[in-house]
Symmetry: C2
Subunit: 134 residues, 2 copies
């Protein structure tokens, strides 16, 4: 990726915290959003980005994350429907050029694609690797 | 993989059902184990293996799945500690040659490796793909 992008990461669980920490370490401007302040404890000690405690489903929260200026938004909460909604709003309301969402349920991927949202499915990825390992 | 292996899949969630269905379709002998009978509805209509409703943490259940004859066991429930326990028992008690476990928490992977269990982490896999996509 190009150096120093502005990336909004929604969801600070295991995946979100790894992504936010890594992207920050690589010199990008990162804003991480989670409903729980405690979630931010999973970030690396060196995390140099901003943390916003709030529900990204609310427009005001994405606005305070300056989503309108973001090069990229990653919707990686543990809930597929939240990821879809946030990704959709990022794309249509804030015009974020690159939007990626995690989707656990492979059956939902089609719905995302209808909205022009790129998806990454941990279930599919894992299945591929398991089958390759056998 | 070699044709017609005997594979025990523990956990019939999204991942387990994909794996069991695919492996069965490819001509392997598959036994799928889940605590909930309802979970088996996720299997493909063509699934030709055996279904065992029960808790694989109990030795009797793995025994009834004929784990001692299995070429391979996949521990893919939604719970890391269940996967670790089942994988460990499969390896040490039943002598299954190939044991693979899903582990959500990357911090636990080291523990699995100490027990000689190969792990696949959906979190790590997803992080790699997200970072590559950016």
């Amino acid at each position: 990726m190009a150096k120093s992008q502005y990336v909004v990461v929604v969801g600070c669980g295991r995946l979100g915290s790894i992504l936010a920490s890594t992207l920050s370490d690589r010199g990008n401007s990162v804003v991480i959003v989670d409903t729980s302040e405690d979630a931010f404890n999973q970030l690396s000690a060196e995390f140099g980005g901003f943390k916003i405690a709030g529900d990204a489903v609310e427009l005001a929260i994405l606005k305070s994350a300056k989503a309108d200026q973001a090069d990229c938004l990653l919707a990686v909460t543990d809930r597929d429907n939240v990821n879809l909604m946030v990704a959709q709003v990022a794309k249509t309301v804030f015009g974020v050029p690159k939007v990626l969402a995690r989707v656990f349920d492979p059956a939902r991927e089609e719905l995302y694609q209808e909205f022009g949202i790129a998806t990454i499915s941990p279930t599919k990825l894992s299945a591929e690797v398991f089958l390759k390992e056998l």
